[in-house]
Symmetry: C2
Subunit: 266 residues, 2 copies
């Protein structure tokens, strides 16, 4: 009988070739599975993530599940894995869950944040999750285009042809922008995200804010969905998977309770 | 005629084998001199630091000077070097100074901070400058021992025999401790610091706080100075050179003006 455990995991993406296990490359899933094998004395369990973040993308609250042949107390799993993992990956929490729970299939939504800055931070321990980009000149135009994204749309233009065989109609529940001293944070809550979607949405929005992409052309990306449309992809370094939402809590309730957390600049 | 320039530099120590240039090893001085050579088309100028931080030790405000054969505007030096340096080193400021100024010999004092934590941060981008250590049980005992350090003393016990040929009588102008949620920050302002001094003072103080070193034995480290005394060296990761002080400003005025900066947890 499997003892299913849910993990909440944070990582600094710059140190890894993305989430997904790869032969001969350091990945988050690979490091977690390796730590689990050491901790359990050889158990080769697959760790199933809620989503596969790309190389360089960070997570504050990625969720994964795994099945253990015999129960280990959640606190022991957190300490055991963290003792074996590199500093750039931290298991924040573990919980025993029913085998109905599936990190990817049970997910109802995700919160991604993108931190764009016009110049590098003068302190190297800040800004590790921020991307330095060309500044914008028209925040109002950017916000007007961002408002078009909320709702249910075919978002194929914001992915690439290789990834467009999955359904491309998705709902963005909430999109919001916050000005920072030297840049902008963009937050997206949606029921699911296509490959490169957030980075391409951000790339296009920033170009609107720079006057390099007209509002009508941005509108057309939604009205005439076309995978691989010629839009800029914002750098991976600015992107963080903040949170994965599951049944039993309201997305917006969780956000309201936890609003401050998503605004931090670190 | 030399155009002397003062640099203020921040770095994350974990990525380097300390400040001092070494053949075949990545060091902060080495990276700065390499970037300078590229920026100037081959100038091989030595960059003189206020002090040599050890491998793993961070800086928020290390100071250095260099001589240029022809003037470059400070803003150009900051941008030029930052464009060539790794993310883990940032030039925070540059200024033209008179050739009387010497980063090491003109320094009047330094502020070092040590961030000790009882457990790792659950978010890997926090705590990069914190060391995880065994918790203490008696903060009052630790504070009582720390109070002995302020003033002028022979601090030879807090260095190692190899480093004890320089004068070991130094003044600690101010020592203060601040409790943090999961640990302790210890701050030291002094006129000069011996090799390993802060990490050995912190190692001994934490042992007092754990009841593993008696107050009387701590007192004896000062009363009977002995290089290489058997005391614990706290991990490099927790130590940051926050600031170097020069003539023309009062140390305590600067600290009062800038108090909040030294307390940040990031």
């Amino acid at each position: 009988m499997a003892h299913r455990t849910k993990l909440t995991v944070a990582y600094l993406g710059g140190s890894f070739h993305g989430w997904q296990r790869q032969r001969d490359r350091r990945t988050v899933q690979g490091e977690l599975e390796r730590a689990l094998a050491v901790m359990t004395g050889g158990l080769e369990a697959a760790i199933v993530g809620a989503g596969r973040t790309d190389a360089g993308v960070h997570a504050a609250g990625q969720v994964a599940h795994l099945d253990l042949p015999s129960p280990i107390p959640p606190e022991g799993i957190v300490r055991g894995l963290n003792g074996l993992l590199p500093d750039e990956i931290r298991v924040r929490a573990a919980a025993q869950v029913s085998t109905d729970f599936h990190a990817r299939r049970s997910a109802r939504g995700k919160l991604y944040s993108y931190r764009a800055r016009w110049r590098p931070s003068p302190l190297p321990w800040l800004g590790l999750r921020c991307a330095v980009v060309q500044p914008i000149s028209d925040l109002r135009a950017l916000a007007r285009a961002a408002a078009l994204l909320a709702g249910r749309h075919d978002l194929a233009s914001f992915t690439v042809p290789e990834a467009a065989d999955e359904p491309t109609v998705r709902t963005l529940h909430r999109v919001w922008i916050r000005g920072r001293r030297d840049g902008l944070d963009l937050h997206f809550v949606g029921d699911g995200f296509l490959r490169y979607q957030v980075r391409r949405m951000v790339g296009a929005l920033l170009d609107v804010g720079r006057g390099q992409l007209a509002h009508a052309d941005f509108e057309r990306l939604l009205a005439e969905p076309r995978p691989g449309a010629a839009i800029r992809t914002a750098p991976a370094r600015g992107l963080t998977l903040e949170r994965v939402f599951y049944r039993g809590t309201s997305l917006l309730d969780e956000l309201a309770l936890d609003g401050r957390r998503h605004d931090d600049d670190r």
